[in-house]
Symmetry: C2
Subunit: 714 residues, 2 copies
């Protein structure tokens, strides 16, 4: 990777004990971070344009088997400030280049009674704050067993929040919009059933947490670079509006085992008075380490289809046969009676390959290809899958060759059933099997309670595992798209083969009863802060009973909005999730999915209000073409789109896929219009979005006069 | 493997409900097993020569998330008896051939209310009883989560017992000899400190448990074929003298996850009125499955030395340098300051190789060869070892080649520090490293608390792991000698590359404060019932301070008895554990260790009383030579040894290594005599054994008259 690096380092050593409060500002001067010791306890606070964002909040960790903890008794030994400014290029992403620009304060705190010290490091960017605990190598600080990390985030008011229940095992909840003070009263109804769930408190919420203050500040709390540490949640003291960190416990209730030298992940506060700034923040990526892979040439963003939605809706099955249980060691599939609904069969997969290749897709995900799906779930089964043995009706070599002959590849699927020891035991052979059979990407899953039993999806044990899988995959040049894994924290900068994650309520829930219409106006402010999401958009038939008469679920979106999601839900891995038949029915709308890019040189959040609407424009990598998406909540929205992001010297053909008059996510979701017009940087579009609707635009640079023949200006 | 199989199957189907009590006898008619349902609950009882061994004892399992359990509500659906008689040859062992001869009763019990059934299968041998629960495949019995296995063993009296505390993590305790009724009062002092220990009850004891009744019956309780199930312990109801099974729990207190079809391990009752019969029992092996390895040609019993005792005594260190902690990812050993006490260095290892090869040994164990020993233990460290990176002063290739040039191999050491995920992650590379470097045997260790945290050494999770390691090792043609693993249950029949285990208080404890002098008169009745033990005998210098002035421990044995252990402690893997200097000092005694075999065509327990003395004779494989060993307790013993096991047509030269007059394990342990005499099958030896003493004899067939020149008859 080539990199432009501009590094300015200015170092101050403040005299010991002579400075009580330490302060730094963001490069643009809008943010100010103050650190001080009060009663020998560390406190920090943050302001934005003079307004309080984080009121004085204490920092520290409680430890097991340690008489002193790391909570108090500190004195300031050293205080260092520095400045950093570097521009780097991601392997894939929303931007061609990203500027990593911050002022830093590192305070060294001595705990005399224990003869040890820690460092708290603050990095203040224009878009927010990151800070972490550092435990340097020293004689009296080797091993730490964390009872709790006690990081406070004291809010300056009873903000509006977009939250899901704090849970050690799932994030697949619908969002609730409420005042902080209302969380407690709304928690019970917010906790909907999930295959594995462990909510921990009536005021516990997940990060990334999006809030808006009464005085118009948008504040986002999350973490960056979660490596070998337990995932952080937040618990609200709803009398004082103070959040405290709650780490995910292990089977014995312990929250982390550390060996110095080491650090905590970064705790992040992204803040602005413009909601769009939150969407454009690169702070999370910047707080992660640079890419550790030497060769990244094999990592390619990908648009894919899948033999998937028909199983999700219940039309087809992952399983090949119908039996109450399968003992993989002994079950003889060759003698089993096929259930007649197994989707991952040679004939069907070939027909999917035909359709996908004809429409320009690169890969086809096939789930349910491997033996074991008859009783894969919910029984704490240890040996569930072997990840290499196909069902009798799935010919790996033939299908992979067939795909290659059509310019495509199959995409691998590894559902682990959360039996993690079993997955790790099979991992090398499974990845080698992929390498031997031309697979270069795997969608992995962690459905159900974790084995080893008692561990949680978001604990240190599993955080360690997810990264282990990504690192090992890199050895085999495999891209990983992990579902039900811990929420991302920008690690894709360091390991760009982590090409996707789920870690939130994805489109599948539209077939499990539906998600709230405003869902996609929130996710970019929350889940996507940490990294891309494999949201699997592109559903054209909202009435699920059309596929499976027994499933009465409804997709709470208009068709036009389904297109917009390819732009608003950034991911280098984008699925066209619906079945081919539905795309054939709406071939003109499908054209947008075929056209839209998956990798970008630039991205602009043009308009946004969490819970209401989001409009984003992106410039396709290596081209002059742009794509725009708008997604809105159940109230509809009149979007006024200025095309001033376009090159003023050029003309473009815009194809606008919008809700038709009368469209409505519930009653009339498939009413859309498509129009092709000429636009330039001075154009303005006024576009009405239906309730639960939106629009998508492809904007192609005009390269020959013949292209514009017969087109009108917008 | 060639096998003589004689299979006689006689089948009775008893009518449903028409037979209340089912009974079978052992082939010799001495043992009688009775099964009956009382109040719809299964009961069994056992007699030997008409005397009660097990009084009516109930059977069943408590389940989680199951409204009925598998405790009662049973009716007898079917009762089948059969007979089995087969002779098989072990890959290695105490006997050339083993007869597997039993009568079987299998009762099918229907639990109507749950519409399901189980089978309880009893096998009655001349040497005892085995029985197990079987869960056949059926619609209403798929997954079982065990709350507790409720198997009773109702004793007929307040027997004398040789017991160690019941513990989920260790068996490294000294034995206590007491009445059953005295266990509770003696428990506290019996629980001595260990690196990982979880005693579970004031009347909890381990299997194999050895008892003697007032009317002279020797009774042994254990289990056979422990596969993917939690290890069983025993808890005594000391009012009624009834043991109940206690399975090892997992991190959540659950005791096993089963998927039908499956079975429990066999629960075993070995019984006789002769103590020697207990030592000669082959019931445990017979209850295991036949060998599953197709090629066993690479499995070779081995006599070895080790760079080990000098670390155990504290003279040297496993670690290369002295630092409080090591982060393997980043620590630079090339810049570390050597501590000067690291034993596994090129020079020393070469000198050990020289000595061992000169004295006919096949392998040299080297511990502390690999990086990470500086802080390997007690910190719940996850990434402790990588199992492939040597210390800077240990040249694997050079040393292995040096060993090969002397007709030897190095023996691998894998201390896992009980961080089992880390071991499994490195296992393939570690075994491949062994294959690449000519290692064919590994001593593995599991010191400390298990990671995943909350799991126990003897729970299903770990039981599964130990076998996984053995199976994977077999793929690389590696023999496994696992220390701190679960106690063996005869699995070496099925996987003969499981060449050894520790799973008890080994010789190392003689350097950690000492073991009771009677220890080795009990182990063959308890720990060795399940399989061979790598006891590491052969210590010639009992005063540990001679090696390490700071260590005042004393080996509670005479030197002559140390020789006897090579015969009494059966193992296909025998170590000469002391340092070369001590063997050079007592070269004449060392000759026995050089001569003694490690694989046998026949074995005879000639005299035995648990806790008092054991005399065993064994015939070396493929030869006419015999070796005899006697070990006795702190009271000494006059042994009268009849040589009637010898071929009456042959003459032999016996070399007798015995305690000298005045020898005593504490005050005069190195006083021994060696005499060479002629013996035949009519010879009788009267030999006084010192307190904590014993003797060893090598008996070589006379093949040429010149050999006996100058020798007297015994």
């Amino acid at each position: 990777m080539t990199r432009k690096i501009l590094l300015l380092l200015i170092l101050f050593i403040a005299g010991v004990f002579c400075v009580k409060a330490q302060q730094i500002q963001s490069p643009d001067g809008q943010l100010a971070l103050t650190f001080e010791l009060k009663n020998e306890t560390p406190f920090y606070s943050l302001t934005y344009k003079g307004k309080p964002v984080i009121k004085p909040s204490s920092l520290g960790l409680e430890l097991f088997d340690d008489p002193w903890d790391l909570m108090s008794g500190f004195s300031l030994k050293k205080s260092e400030t520095s400045r950093f400014d570097e521009t780097w290029q991601p392997v894939w992403g929303e931007y061609h280049s990203i500027r990593n620009h911050y002022n830093e304060l590192a305070v060294t705190l001595t705990q005399e009674k224990a003869a040890r010290y820690i460092i708290i490091r603050f990095r203040l960017f224009n878009d927010g704050l990151g800070f972490r605990y550092e435990f340097p190598e020293q004689p009296n600080l080797n091993y730490l067993v964390i009872k709790e990390e006690c990081t406070q985030f004291a809010m300056a008011g009873d903000h509006k929040a977009f939250w899901i229940p704090g849970d050690y095992d799932t994030q697949e909840y619908d969002y609730t919009e409420s005042k902080l003070s209302e969380i407690r009263g709304l928690m019970e109804q917010a906790i909907t059933p999930n295959a594995s769930q462990t909510p921990f408190s009536p005021t516990g919420v997940q990060t990334s947490l999006m809030m808006k203050s009464d005085d118009g500040l948008y504040i986002n709390l999350h973490e960056a670079a979660l490596v070998d540490y337990s995932c952080m949640h937040l618990e609200l003291d709803d009398k004082n509006m103070v959040f405290r960190s709650v780490l995910t416990p292990d089977a014995q209730g312990r929250k982390g085992y550390l060996l110095a030298p080491c650090t905590s992940p970064w705790r992040t506060v992204i803040v602005s008075d413009k909601a769009t700034d939150i969407l454009q923040s690169t702070l999370t990526l910047n707080l992660n380490e640079p890419c550790k892979l030497k060769d990244t040439s094999w990592i390619k963003p990908v648009k894919y289809m899948g033999v998937w939605w028909e199983m999700i809706t219940g039309k087809s099955t992952w399983a090949y046969t119908d039996v109450p249980s399968v003992k993989l060691e002994t079950f003889d599939y060759s003698k089993a009676q096929p259930n007649g609904k197994h989707a991952a069969n040679n004939e069907k997969v070939k027909s999917y390959i035909d359709f996908a290749s004809q429409n320009g897709f690169n890969q086809l995900l096939v789930e349910g290809w491997n033996i074991g799906w008859e009783d894969w779930f919910g029984k704490s089964k240890d040996y569930v899958f072997d990840f290499v043995t196909p069902y009798p009706d799935f010919d790996v070599k033939m299908l992979q060759n067939y795909a290659l002959s059509k310019g495509m590849r199959l995409m691998m699927h590894h559902e682990t059933s959360a039996s993690v020891r079993n997955y790790e035991r099979h991992m090398d052979k499974a990845y080698q099997f992929m390498a031997d059979n031309n697979y270069n990407a795997v969608k992995s899953g962690y459905v159900g309670n974790i084995i080893p039993r008692g561990e949680h999806h978001y604990g240190q044990w599993m955080v360690n595992h997810y990264l282990y899988a990504v690192q090992k995959a890199a050895e085999y040049k495999i891209m990983v798209n992990a579902h039900e894994a811990v929420r991302p924290t920008g690690l894709c900068r360091t390991y760009p083969n982590l090409i996707g994650n789920e870690s939130a309520r994805g489109t599948e829930y539209e077939a499990f009863g539906g998600s709230k219409p405003f869902h996609t106006t929130i996710l970019p402010f929350t889940r996507l802060i940490g990294g891309p999401m494999d949201y699997t958009p592109g559903i054209f038939e909202m009435d699920i009973s059309k596929l499976n008469p027994g499933n009465k679920s409804h997709v709470n979106s208009t068709l036009a909005r389904q297109l917009a999601l390819y732009v608003t839900m950034y991911s280098p891995l984008q699925m066209a999730a619906d079945v081919p038949e539905n795309y054939m029915r709406f071939a003109d709308a499908f054209q947008f999915i075929k056209d839209v890019a998956v990798d970008w040189d630039d991205s602009r959040a043009l308009a946004a209000e969490p819970g209401d609407y989001i409009t984003i424009a992106r410039k396709a990598k290596g081209t002059g073409n742009w794509f725009v998406g708008t997604t809105v909540d159940e109230n509809g929205y009149l979007s006024v789109l200025k095309f001033d992001f376009l090159d003023p010297d050029k003309n473009y053909i815009a194809t606008i896929y919008a809700d038709a008059p009368g469209a409505h996510y519930l009653t009339n979701p498939q009413a859309y219009t498509i129009r092709k017009v000429l636009v330039n940087s001075k154009s303005v579009l006024k576009q009405q979005c239906a309730p639960g609707g939106g629009y998508a635009i492809s904007i192609m640079e005009v390269t020959a006069p013949s292209q514009i023949k017969g087109l009108k200006k917008l």
